[in-house]
């Protein structure tokens, strides 16, 4: 299986004020697993959107199998044999599996025939799926199977996968890789987008590295260290967070058999969660998205009220207390969704600082706001956490994801919490900013706070946490010391392979 499948020649795409891709050229061979590496904002997504016909390049050309290839829309790309698994799932919750798959096909067969085909293909590749289940009820791993099978049903020549493993347990990742290797052996080329370097080293034949929209290098991942690849992505030496090592003190927060139903329609209820966090400790909570993370954060922040006695903060029962009361007592939270949950998108950074900081920073008196003090607080956050913005008067929406995340975390850290709960603190944040955020959490713990870090990034949890537990379908696994945990053990704590099996062909 040799020869070039797809050749990109000098692709350029500019948006007003930013060049997303500048003169990008590389080749993908038939049956090759090609990695596309780069930080957030490096232009990976724009590039694959051009290949998939969602975005038109300003200049440059593509050649597929020796012929000019310029898809004007996704259906043209699909006809040419290009299929794509999206990073944010392109699925419809209220429709069933077969309907979702039919929507992604050019000429879908009758529903009954399609259902039979889905069963057949899904079993061949070890990704069992019931065609008539509603997608909203599926786990993240199962939803990804829907997307993959949608692609496989079209016999693609090139399969594009955008960050496919961010929602999978390690066991599920192994099975996915098995499927991908099988496909590659059958001659399907795979363009694999990720920033998880170890995965790329195990799976990919070649890698192209993008930085700020330009190709800055390529390498054979098996022969390159993860650190070298990371530095090519970032363009500078990486700062690795280090802990200064505070002492573990008394228990600050205690959860006793906490159960609560989810307020969301397709959410996960929490079932009998018990744990305790001590002063100076970082408790990492892993798990695949949608296993109760949002609900746990809601229960801790006070957005969801729980039965009396289930949440005890330094001896006080706060289960029936709202967010303001909990903040007053020192329990602070930073939710995952930056725009809309952690910050109000169209309000300025000063106003956003007031929204969570008013109680502890004394930014209001008798119902009147102290704008001067609020501005100082916002400016302190911006300065201490290196938030890149023209000033505190700018709207939260105008900041890049990483900068807003630094602001959101900084806002809570600077309020000197006794207990801080963060959900996905570095999601969608570039490596340098992520390192800063992790460092600030480590420093806070060293100063005596208790921290609960909910994250899907296992590397992050292993790097900063003292103890580790996993959420699986709303239940919390045993809490174990992070040191010495193997990937296999973590995977089993996360629920194993969720019924997936290795491909049968």
């Amino acid at each position: 299986m040799t020869g070039t499948l797809l050749k990109l020649n000098g692709l350029t795409k500019a948006y007003p004020g930013v060049v997303a891709n500048n003169n990008v050229s590389f080749e993908i061979g038939k049956g090759e697993v090609h990695a596309l590496l780069g930080e957030n904002g490096a232009g990976k997504s724009t590039l694959v959107k051009m290949i998939y016909g969602l975005v038109k390049p300003n200049s440059g050309s593509m050649v597929m199998n020796g012929e000019d290839y310029a898809p004007v829309k996704p259906s043209a790309a699909r006809q040419a044999g290009v299929a794509m698994v999206f990073q944010h799932f392109s699925l419809f919750d209220a429709l069933n599996v077969a309907e979702n798959i039919a929507l992604g096909m050019e000429n879908p067969p009758k529903m009954r025939d399609l259902a039979a085909r889905i069963k057949e293909v899904s079993e061949t590749y070890g990704l069992p799926l019931d065609p008539f289940r509603t997608v909203g009820d599926l786990s993240a791993g199962e939803r990804q199977r829907v997307e993959i099978i949608r692609c496989l049903l079209q016999d693609p020549k090139l399969l594009i996968m955008d960050e496919p493993t961010s929602v999978l347990t390690p066991q599920e990742v192994d099975i996915l890789f098995e499927t991908l290797r099988k496909l590659s052996a059958e001659g399907t080329a795979i363009l694999y987008i990720s920033h998880k370097l170890e995965e790329i080293r195990t799976l990919c034949d070649n890698a192209t590295i993008l930085r700020l929209g330009e190709v800055v290098g390529d390498c054979v991942p098996r022969e390159t260290t993860a650190r070298d690849m990371a530095e090519m992505m970032v363009g500078s030496k990486l700062h690795v967070p280090e802990r200064t090592g505070g002492d573990i003190g008394p228990v600050l927060l205690e959860l006793n058999d906490l159960s609560v139903a989810s307020p969301a329609e397709f959410g996960t209820a929490l079932k009998g969660i018990s744990m305790e966090v001590r002063s100076g400790e970082i408790l990492g909570i892993g798990g695949v998205a949608g296993n109760g993370q949002d609900e746990l954060l809601g229960a801790l922040s006070g957005e969801l009220l729980t039965k009396a006695g289930t949440i005890v903060l330094e001896g006080d029962d706060v289960s029936q207390m709202g967010p303001v009361g909990r903040r007053k007592l020192g329990l602070l939270t930073a939710p995952e969704e930056r725009l809309g949950h952690a910050a109000a998108p169209d309000m300025s950074l000063i106003e956003n600082a007031v929204l969570t900081g008013s109680v502890r920073e004394g930014l209001e008196k008798n119902g009147f706001l102290k704008w001067g003090k609020a501005r100082n607080f916002a400016e302190t956050i911006i300065e201490k956490f290196d938030v890149r913005t023209p000033g505190p008067g700018n709207a939260a929406r105008s900041l890049s994801g990483g900068n807003l995340q630094k602001f959101v975390i900084g806002r809570e850290v600077l309020q000197r919490p006794d207990v801080l709960v963060v959900n996905q603190p570095t999601w969608g944040v570039d490596a340098a900013a992520a390192a800063d955020i992790r460092q600030s959490l480590l420093d806070l713990a060293a100063a005596g706070a208790a921290i609960i870090c909910i994250s899907q990034d296992l590397d992050e949890l292993m790097e900063i946490s003292d103890h580790f537990a996993a959420l699986n379908e709303g239940r919390l696994s045993d809490i174990r010391p992070s040191k010495g945990l193997t990937v296999d053990e973590i995977g089993l704590m996360m629920g194993g392979a969720h019924g997936m099996e290795v491909a049968h062909v």
């Binding site: 016909g53 969602l54 829309k73 996704p74 259906s75 699909r78 999206f86 944010h88 799932f89 392109s90 699925l91 419809f92 919750d93 209220a94 429709l95 309907e99 039919a102 929507l103 992604g104 879908p108 329609e265």
Partner: protein
């Protein structure tokens, strides 16, 4: 009191006449909402359809041409809503309310000079054989053809949404416009077509009132039927057959309470007049205990650039 004056055959036949305009408007709005657009301008499109249909029918002498004109009138007015919400990305709630106010004003303007005029009457369409069945025949099969049209429209909308690819795409767009866009479907185009369909249906519903049910032109004659249609779609959980049921229930109680008023029953007229609204909503609220069917993107602005 004299209940003997109430004839069950006539009562049921007029039930259907009362239900038809509501059914037409609601089934159109159902399609619009299934595509993820909330058009609160139903009342305005109905009244515009009512006057357009009336004026054209009077001037051409043909009620069928009038009905077509009503559909066109409703669709043209909904085009305004489509331009505002789909291209200018305006807020759907505000645009819909504006559309109702605009439609009410526009219809009184066009309607100057048509007050007191009698429109040409619609030919009654007796279905052979079936209309001779005792009781059922006169109730179901001796109606005008719009009644049959409304029924088959409901059937068609149900079948298209459930079984056809076009219906699947429409539901997908209403469910998640971002995902549909990523798969390459033309979200804006599909929504505009749905809005136009809804406008045409509302227009025909309005014309049914001005040409058949009343039949004459008075300002504001749709009298809130458009709002009932909107509520009906929600309480029917976006299901066509429940919309039909709700429309019949509303029409039935409306006709019944008029009959009871005429029979001189000892219940205050105000309470009787209120009853169709109250009972329809209560019944549908009970039925819609499973409120999980709202299209997930309903009322959200879609911007392709993101």
């Amino acid at each position: 009191m004299d209940f003997s004056s109430i004839n069950p055959v006539l009562l049921l036949a007029s039930l259907i006449v009362a239900a038809t305009p509501l059914l037409l408007a609601a089934i159109g709005e159902l399609v619009v909402e299934k595509a993820g657009v909330l058009n609160l301008g139903v009342e305005g499109m109905m009244i515009t359809g009512a006057i357009c249909g009336f004026a054209i029918a009077v001037n051409t002498g043909s009620p069928v041409v009038g009905l077509l004109a009503a559909a066109v009138g409703g669709a043209v007015l909904s085009m305004l809503f489509a331009l505002l919400t789909q291209y200018a990305l305006a807020n759907q709630v505000a645009s819909g309310l504006a559309l109702t106010l605009f439609g009410l004003g526009l219809s009184s303007l066009i309607g100057q000079g048509y007050q007191g005029v009698k429109p040409p009457s619609f030919p009654r369409f007796d279905i052979p054989v079936l209309s001779d069945i005792p009781f059922i025949g006169p109730v179901l099969f001796t109606q005008d053809f719009i009644v049959y049209l409304a029924f088959f429209l409901t059937l068609g909308v149900w079948a298209v949404l459930k079984y056809s690819r076009a219906g699947l795409i429409l539901r997908a767009v209403g469910e998640s416009h971002d995902a549909a866009h990523a798969l390459g479907y033309k979200v804006v185009r599909i929504r505009v077509l749905a809005i136009l369909f809804g406008g045409a249906c509302a227009g025909m519903g309005g014309a049914y009132i001005s040409l058949i049910r009343v039949p004459q032109w008075t300002e504001g004659m749709t009298a809130g039927i458009g709002w009932i249609a909107l509520a009906l779609v929600v309480f029917a959980s976006w299901k066509p057959w429940r919309v039909l049921l709700g429309a019949c229930l509303f029409g039935g109680i409306n006709v019944l309470q008029l009959n009871l008023q005429a029979a001189g029953i000892a219940i205050p007229v105000e309470i009787l007049a209120m009853s169709p609204y109250v009972i329809t909503i209560v019944v549908l609220v009970i039925m819609s205990a499973d409120r999980s069917n709202a299209p997930a993107s309903l009322g959200k602005v879609f911007h392709a650039g993101s």
